[in-house]
């Protein structure tokens, strides 16, 4: 199964770069062949929101919904089941001070 991990941190959380360094985790999960892709995301202030309503293009600055937690990164994980996904997420450094939301990917049928 494929899962999207949303790596979330509350604004104002202070951690050392070593605590937040995902490098070893990325290496381990890539080696295990469960991590498909992933990256950090630039902050909300760099987000752009696009909508088309009645054929009119609406472009605005910032995220569509303001949330308490910021999505600071994402990973696409391909593993056996939710138990393995939970185990992988629990090893992510951000899990110790932020939150990892696991969303099952709903494959499109074409």
């Amino acid at each position: 199964m494929r899962y999207l991990f949303l790596i979330c941190v509350e604004p104002g959380t202070t951690v050392t770069p070593e605590q937040a360094n995902p490098g070893p985790w990325v290496d381990e999960m890539t080696e295990r062949k469960v991590r498909v892709l992933g990256d950090r995301l630039r902050p909300d202030s760099d987000a752009t929101t696009v909508r088309v309503r009645d054929a009119e293009l609406l472009v605005s600055d910032g995220p569509f919904v303001e949330t308490r937690e910021l999505v600071g990164g994402f990973d696409v994980i391909d593993c056996d089941d939710l138990d393995e996904a939970i185990e992988i997420a629990s090893k992510h450094p951000v899990a110790t001070f932020g939150t990892i939301e696991i969303r099952p990917i709903w494959p499109m049928v074409r």
């Binding site: 056996d80 939710l82 138990d83 099952p104």
Partner: protein, 409 residues
């Protein structure tokens, strides 16, 4: 009831969970599994009447349920994928006796998966393992049937869509996942135990179901001391059922209960299960709570209860689960073992922390200790504070009666 009907009723109690658990594994479809199990029991009513009750009702029911599943899958479509499913369902080796117990264990762990909301875990356990229908579960938890139906549907969808595995967790996960299962069983038991009278029979039934599941779990995981601990704890609490509620439906405090009404067989079984668990020397909070319940259960009356032992056990329990309510219980036990002054000192220290502010049993306990110290006016004041905080009707009646004994008539 005819002999065949009686046999079906008995088989439903003993075999429902096994049939559903195996059908979920071989079909991978929770709804299909339940429907086929239900249909198999319906067919048994007629078939056992005409052909006699089979030697192995469980095997008959599983085979029948599997044949029903094969028919349904064949009729529903002729796609290649479906035919593969049919082949898998038809494979006899998937339902041999030895895998069937594992199936029930798989089902218990999947129903109690921490990724499901707690109320859904309880509902799903009652539905698939105990065979209660949606209406019964809704009544037990006092929610509308539609709400309960939706809760069950959502839980089954999440199991499928989120990839919650149908298996017993790996050894490294087993302790915490077993604890999650025990929490569900204990919650189920307490829901039933909180119910008091005849009108609450459906809820009271939850106690029996929780004990039955704990027995099954104990049989399947005999080496898990805390599983035995929870079974013992529930048996020992349940042994007092007949003595703890008056004919008017009022709760009777432990000290005033007619102990001859307690179930001697449940007490002896509870004590036996607990002693076996304690011998494994792997203590845990359920075993400690069961040991406390056992101290009460084997005592002839309140005065001849081993309160020092109970106080020590509460002290031990706070090391496992730090909790101000446990501290309060310890203070009560110390008050019985070493006298009310010693108990009051602990209660006052606990009150000073503010952790139990607004909890009616704090002033009620203080009141009782002050009464025993012959300080009636202070005791009366504390009973009044408790009466202002209590929400349960039975407890309110009890406190009001206690207050009345202190006030000059």
């Amino acid at each position: 009831m005819t002999r065949a009907e009686g046999a079906v009723v008995a088989a439903f109690r003993d075999e429902w969970a096994r049939v559903v658990a195996t059908m979920i594994r071989v079909t991978g479809d929770w709804d299909l599994a339940e429907e086929c199990a239900q249909e198999a029991f319906a067919r048994a009513v007629d078939r056992w009447e005409s052909d006699g009750v089979p030697d192995k009702p469980g095997a008959w029911l599983t085979t029948t349920a599997r044949n029903i599943a094969v028919d349904r899958l064949r009729r529903s479509t002729v796609e290649r994928a479906k035919l593969q499913e049919v082949a898998a369902v038809m494979d006899e080796s998937t339902v041999d006796e030895s895998t069937v117990d594992d199936d029930r264990l798989r089902l218990i762990f999947t129903c109690c998966h921490p990724a499901l909301p707690l109320e859904a875990r309880v509902a799903l356990t009652l539905r698939t393992l105990c065979g209660l229908d949606t209406t019964e579960i809704a009544r037990a938890f006092m929610v509308p049937v539609g709400t309960m139906a939706q809760r069950l549907v959502r839980a089954k969808h999440k199991i499928r869509n989120a990839g919650i595995p149908y298996r017993v967790p790996a050894p490294d996960l087993l302790p915490e996942r077993t604890a999650a299962v025990l929490a569900v069983l204990y919650l189920m038991f307490n829901e039933g135990y909180a119910a008091t009278g005849g009108a609450d029979l459906v809820r009271g039934n939850l106690c029996d179901e929780a004990i039955r599941l704990a027995r099954i779990l104990h049989t399947l995981m005999p080496g898990e001391a805390e599983v035995a601990g929870l079974l013992a704890l529930m048996l020992l609490h349940h042994s007092r059922s007949a003595g703890r509620v008056s004919a008017e439906g009022e709760l009777i405090p432990l000290s005033d209960q007619d102990r001859s009404l307690w179930s001697a067989s449940e007490i002896s079984e509870g004590v036996r299960v607990l002693e076996a668990a304690l011998r494994s020397r792997r203590p845990g909070p359920y075993q400690i709570q069961a040991a406390i319940a056992a101290c009460h259960a084997v005592a002839p009356d309140t005065d001849n209860t081993d309160w020092s032992q109970i106080a020590a056990l509460y002290g031990e329990l706070t090391r496992w689960t730090p909790n101000p309510v446990v501290e309060l219980n310890r203070a009560v036990a110390v008050g019985m073992a070493d006298g009310p002054a010693a108990g009051l000192a602990l209660v006052d220290a606990l009150a000073a922390t503010g952790a139990l502010a607004g909890y009616h049993l704090l002033p009620a306990t203080r009141a009782d200790l002050l009464r025993r110290l012959d300080r009636p006016s202070e005791a009366a004041d504390e009973y009044r504070v408790a009466l202002g905080q209590v929400t349960n009707e039975a407890e309110r009646t009890y406190l009001a009666r206690r207050l009345a004994t202190l006030e000059p008539s």
